[in-house]
């Protein structure tokens, strides 16, 4: 499974059950990156709108196949069946009470690429890809 998350400078994801930030161009990039199915919760699907790749599922981690992608925000994250992680960094510091608290090298992940791009409302978003 391929996992996609958005993180701030301190690996924060959400505050008070709400995403820290969002960006229209980031969503377009995610949809362009995913060749097949993109699983996500109903909360996440609301920001993406309708798209044939998107499958709304609250328990996506146990449903998604090896080559499928999961966009994770509000649900608990497990790296058990994950073989690739795509991290979008806002390059901003926001408040957080939910974090992506994984030591990726210790879990066997290696960063294979990093690329900056300009978002709609964020001057620099960094896309990092980690593979196991």
């Amino acid at each position: 499974m391929n996992l996609i998350v958005c993180l701030d400078d301190k690996n924060g994801m959400m505050f008070n059950k709400r995403r820290q930030s969002q960006d229209r161009l980031l969503r377009e990039r995610v949809l362009a990156l995913v060749p097949g199915k993109l699983y996500m919760s109903a909360y996440s699907a609301k920001q993406f709108g309708e798209n044939e790749k998107i499958i709304v599922c609250e328990d996506y981690a146990s449903v998604a196949g090896e080559n499928d992608f999961c966009f994770a925000e509000d649900k608990e994250i497990s790296l058990e069946n994950v073989n690739q992680i795509i991290i979008y960094r806002w390059n901003r510091h926001y408040p957080a009470d939910k974090r992506f608290a994984f030591d990726l090298p210790a879990r066997g992940f290696t960063k294979v690429s990093s690329e900056d791009f300009i978002g709609n409302s964020h001057p620099k978003i960094t896309e990092e890809i980690y593979k196991r």
Binding site: F15, N16, R18, Q22, D23, W90, R92, H93, Y94, S121
Partner: protein, 248 residues
Amino acid sequence: MAYRRKKKNTAKKVVTTIIALLIALLGAYFIVPEVIPEAPATNIDISNIPAYSGDAYVAINNNVPYFEESDYTTEAYENYSELDSLGRCGVVTACLGKETMPAEDEERGSINNVTPSGWVQKRYDANLVSGGWLYNRCHLIGWQLSAENDNERNLITGTRYFNAGNSEEQGMLLFENMVADYIKETENHVLYRVTPVYEGNNLVASGILMEAYSVEDSGEGICFNVYFYNVQPGITIDYATGESELAK
């Protein structure tokens, strides 16, 4: 005749009493506020806020702001309270939108000309206070949200930690970042209220209550109610005056 004289005397007494009452009322209206400082209006009782225990802020009312439905509007505005007789800022309220934010090419100016109440600046070891100086002139509504630069009704004396946090902790700035980026992305509006909380006649606020609620999506994007402690770890502050010293 005697009756008429008595009636005239009674009328005279009534008029004199009314004039005396009017003078007393006018005197009270014009004089009393100069003598007894009025505490800035707040909607928070400081005795209900847990004492600082290492976190820069604490969620209040389960992070639900105290706005009422009648407050909801998508028309941008900013309202800054007049300084009270001690020169202290009061509540600031706003409906923030792209309209209130600085233009893309707008540069922030100096705010050094403003001296907020309790401004007794002091330098400490930079390992204790980021940058060394204890106090910042803290915008109640941040410049990135309001484009308000040196508005004295929007600037209070706050510690460096309170304003911007440090490498580990989180200050007001992070919440302002979140609101600013939400508005830039969605072009929605955010109801925003910042209430400085003073104990008695203290010149330095103990903290501030920051409330925010995104209007167009009914709080789905932004919704928080947070109290920030105006403290600096390792420093003891006399909130009555603004004087400070190393914690013993």
